[in-house]
């Protein structure tokens, strides 16, 4: 019961938007990097809530930092993820999102012009297939996945009757395809160290945010590769040290590329997972840019952080074989 209260309290904190999270001028709903990296065992239901905060205040021209502190973009995403293992090899993940985008501009009169947009974001679904299952003797796992993104979020929010830009919208407005893979190998140098490797690719569709009779807008395709190690301390917490490479191609309008979108990023992701109970974990992860090379000139990530809560239960144990 105490656990339930604790869980509920944190959800309330999320809902009042105290906890902070993400976006980018090369953006859209930042769901891809939020997907559960690993797979879920047969009969296990895993529920996750996470909040991501992404602050963008750095302006880059290519890989050159520009001294321009007049603008800030903040993206908060609140994600609810369901993972379930159908069989020993097949599991699925579904992710729902709620987005809050903020744009701040310091005007010459020192007035801060702020625009906030919030709403339900898009949803991802992913079916995963384990080619290699890890067990006690062979702690190697390899899985592939395929899925898509459903445009549950609107991409046509207006302010004072003016259509807001694509990357300020809660959703992208397009159906997207998704490819995913995961590899992990335990006992690297030590039984406590696991090597993880995860990559995903989002092939984006075109939306009709300017109207049915107008040319479509397409967010650039996105590739994310995350790799590093997880260290189990044999206490109540684990540590993860990951690096992430992200590439997005340029957005398109009417099949022509939009300037100042797309680029390459490398991040360092330190993280810590707390094992509250056998079923309940919480994790805090940072995302610090190590390298940014944007196409054209863009406002880009200064830092991001996320807080996640995860609850797992075995439906087989609980209900005898669901």
């Amino acid at each position: 019961m105490k656990l339930t209260k604790y869980f509920f309290l944190i959800i309330l904190l999320f809902s009042t938007k105290v906890v902070v999270a993400q976006a980018c001028c090369t953006a859209g709903t930042p769901l891809l990097s939020s997907l559960e990296m690993s797979t879920t065992q047969k009969g296990v239901l895993s529920l996750g809530l996470s909040s991501k905060y992404n602050s963008l205040t750095d302006v880059y021209s290519g890989s050159v930092f520009l001294e321009d502190q007049e603008r800030e973009r903040i993206s908060n995403s609140y994600l609810f993820q369901i993972n379930y293992g159908l069989t020993n090899r097949i599991s699925f993940s579904v992710l729902f999102s709620y987005m809050r985008q903020t744009r701040k501009i310091q005007t010459i009169a020192n007035f801060e012009n702020v625009l906030n947009v919030s709403g339900i974001g898009d949803a991802l679904f992913l079916v995963k297939y384990n080619l290699i299952n890890a067990d006690l003797f062979n702690r190697t796992e390899l899985a592939l996945g395929i899925g898509g993104k459903l445009p549950l979020g609107t991409s046509s929010v207006r302010a004072n009757s003016v259509l807001l830009p694509a990357d300020m919208q809660p959703g992208t407005g397009s159906f997207d395809g998704l490819l995913w893979m995961y590899f992990s190998k335990g006992d690297i140098f030590s039984p406590n160290i696991t090597f993880v490797f995860n990559s995903s690719y989002r092939l984006n569709g075109t939306n009709k945010r300017f109207g049915a009779n107008q040319a479509g807008y397409k967010f650039g395709n996105e590739f994310v590769l995350t790799s590093g190690i997880a260290y189990a301390t044999d206490t109540f917490f684990d540590i993860t040290m990951l690096a992430r490479y992200r590439n997005t191609s340029q957005d398109e309008f009417s099949a022509d590329e939009i300037p100042n979108t797309g680029g390459n990023w490398i991040y360092f992701l330190p993280g810590i997972n707390f094992l509250i109970t056998d079923n309940f974990t919480t994790s805090i992860t940072g995302e610090l840019p190590l390298y940014q090379n944007v196409i054209g000139t863009q406002l880009t990530t200064t830092f991001s952080a996320s807080l996640s809560l995860n609850y797992s239960l075995s439906l087989i144990n609980k209900f005898g074989g669901l």
Partner: protein, 352 residues
């Protein structure tokens, strides 16, 4: 099973409290009582937020100027805009305007804003004194027909740059009065006016002024970033034209239609007699209103002098006679990419 229901209820709770799309903005209070009205003179569903936001592209105010000889950031073929008031000439390179779009400036008592939209290639001088009150203009971050919508800081009213009119706010429907300017490549301007002053890159902002910020946009004729209301395929989209007004009538003149050594065209397409001077070699075109039966003759290779009248008076790019006793009247006109001129002025005539 109770556990599952519990978390389902929690999920529903979270979904419920966050189920609506919400938008909130802050705006400085103006003398029209605050936030901009939702009344637009143009279709508001065709007005788009370009992304950077209001003042996200910072307009310049009273920029620094340096001598022509000190300029090293503008290539000979780069386009620049020049304004002349009295004997003073100031030059505003596109490479600065691409990043700031508006420069609030003035020479003597003439207060003007150089407004330039890199997406429509339109550079227009706007008088900053409206109804006797001096104002400055900022970049609203909004676009109509993918064209700049400046706002005036005195009232917060939004203006359509190429429509030359306030389209939203307290001053809705009011037309702007224009300050004449010319546009040409840098080599033409620096040769013609070696004593001019040119905007310095020391703007107070960190920008890569040596780099065009829109990729291949200005040469890719099909590339648009936002929809436009009307398309016209008589010319390639990014071809530069001089659009000339004669009352409600308009006509576009291609720079490329004129001789490489310059050409004077005198014609009346509605009620006014115009002199159109174009020089495709110098990448220059301008228009003046002239009395009927006037005759002019081309001058080649003698910049800044480009033509002379029947009395032998030579005129420079601004239409000023050599002895400064005659100033031809600049026609109401501006240069823009063809696609945008055609989007705003759909029934426009086209020379050649």
């Amino acid at each position: 099973m109770k556990t599952i229901y519990r978390y389902l209820l929690i999920a529903i709770f979270v979904a419920t409290i966050t189920s609506c799309d919400e938008v909130s903005t802050t705006e400085p209070k103006k003398d029209d009582g605050g936030k901009q009205s939702n009344d637009w003179l143009i279709p508001s569903n065709k007005v788009f937020d370009g992304g950077p936001g209001k003042d996200g592209i910072p307009a310049l105010q009273d920029p620094n100027f340096i001598d022509v000889d000190a300029i090293d950031y503008v290539a000979d073929n780069d386009l620049v805009i020049a304004v002349k008031v009295g004997n003073e000439i100031r030059v505003y390179p596109h490479s600065i305007l691409d990043w700031h779009e508006i420069i609030n400036d003035g020479i003597g008592s003439t207060k003007y804003a150089l407004t330039y939209c890199p997406l429509t290639g339109s550079g227009i001088g706007w008088n900053r004194v409206i109804d006797g009150n001096e104002t400055t203009f900022g970049v609203s971050g909004l676009l109509y027909n993918t064209n700049l919508i400046p706002y005036d800081r005195a009232t917060g009213s939004n203006w359509s740059q190429m429509q030359l009119q306030s389209v939203n706010g307290k001053l809705i429907s009011k037309f702007i009065s224009l300050v004449p300017l010319i546009e040409s490549k840098w080599s033409t301007i620096k040769t013609s006016f070696p004593n001019a002053k040119v905007v310095s890159t020391n703007t107070g902002y960190s920008r890569n002024y040596g780099r065009y910020p829109y990729g291949d946009y200005r040469t890719n004729h099909t590339s648009l970033i936002f929809p436009v209301e009307h398309s016209d395929d008589r010319l390639k989209g990014k071809e530069r034209v001089l659009g000339v007004f004669d009352g409600e009538n308009t006509k576009a003149y291609r720079v490329e239609s004129f001789e490489t050594n310059g050409q004077v065209l005198i014609e009346k397409f509605a009620s006014t007699n115009f002199l159109i001077y174009g020089n495709s070699g110098k990448n220059f075109i301008t228009a003046f209103t002239i009395p009927n039966n006037s005759t002019f003759e081309i001058i080649t290779s003698d910049l800044p002098w480009i033509f002379k009248d029947s009395n032998g008076n030579k005129y420079d790019l601004f239409g000023t006679s050599e002895d400064k006793s005659i100033q031809l009247t600049p026609a109401k006109s501006f240069i823009a990419y063809w696609f945008s001129w055609a989007a705003f002025y759909q029934n426009t005539k086209l020379y050649k």
